[in-house]
Symmetry: C2
Subunit: 193 residues, 2 copies
């Protein structure tokens, strides 16, 4: 009723706040609308539908993840850069698990915008890999490998899969990252021959 100057940014902000505080599984348009003091149907004056809003939140999340990764590797090279990147990625997943889940559940197939978003995910890793003497195709493979390690680890840690054994989870992650660095150096050595 009492009309407020609602912008898309306001809605995004409220949606992100809702997801981070209540959990992704409790996110709904009705709850979002309530937080904005409007009815759910009124949201459709600002957004096309839930999918579109969700995708935009995903873009935000990817941008945030990219930001922390780039900040982490700033001024670092090779092994130190890989460690810093992996650490930043891991911290993001732990500190903002609900927002991280949004990235996971984005189906990267759909449209071109999502393809450019996929590029944002790739970029920080490619920057780090450029510090090694590797062929372009090898970099593509290795980027996938590192992403698999980082994402797979966080995903399982978040799901509680790592509580089966008492060993320190941080140590496991460091071992995974060191293994990747070992692979990097090994491939670099082979290429140099």
């Amino acid at each position: 009723m009492a009309r407020q100057g609602l912008t898309r940014a306001d809605i995004m902000e409220a949606a992100i706040e809702l997801i981070e505080s209540e959990g992704l599984h409790r996110f709904s348009l009705r709850e979002l609308a309530a937080r904005l003091h409007i009815k759910a149907a009124s949201l459709y004056n600002h957004i096309r539908n839930m999918d579109e809003l969700y995708t935009q939140i995903g873009f935000y999340a990817i941008a945030e993840l990219k930001k922390v990764q780039l900040a982490a590797i700033d001024g670092k090279r090779r092994g130190a850069a890989v460690e810093a990147l992996a650490d930043a990625y891991h911290r993001f997943g732990k500190e903002r698990p609900e927002i991280y889940k949004v990235i996971l559940s984005l189906p990267m197939v759909k449209n071109d915008a999502l393809q450019t978003a996929a590029g944002d995910i790739v970029e920080p890793i490619m920057v780090v890999l450029s510090g090694y003497g590797l062929a372009e195709e090898q970099k593509m493979h290795l980027q996938r490998v590192l992403r698999s390690i980082m994402h797979g680890f966080i995903s399982q840690e978040e799901a509680g899969c790592f509580r089966h054994f008492p060993a320190d989870v941080g140590d496991s992650y460091r071992m995974a990252v060191q293994g990747f660095i070992l692979l990097l150096e090994n491939l670099e050595k082979e290429a140099r021959i």
Copy 2:
């Protein structure tokens, strides 16, 4: 009306068939009931609720995954066993993506039954790792590392994240697995000193 000898096994079977044919996102108690020629409310004579049914499907999926892994490593050792295990895991994820998703979305926190299920996920990997001369704690870490690699890879491949680059996805996976074997041998060598 015309009462049929419905068992929990029948319901499980129908549920799995529904998920695999229509996709996990289209799974619902009403659709499941329709396939069994009963109403949704009647399902509650056989199951406690949707969560319980879902968890049981997860147990089934984990058992299947364990089965193909154990079959794959049968008679193999060390590198060959790792490769066979990783290959079987990957094939399961590609051939039965919807059932694999059920495993992912199981929150392993809840109860004891889920903890034993977590053990089933771990076991084949531990069998393979026992072929290397490693300390018990290192095996725990390495089991997590391999799972992260395999799960992370399939998860991102399924999400379409690997279409950004033209490089062959199978090659990427093989590189990831070879990297893990390299790490294994390296740690074994260090331990031998």
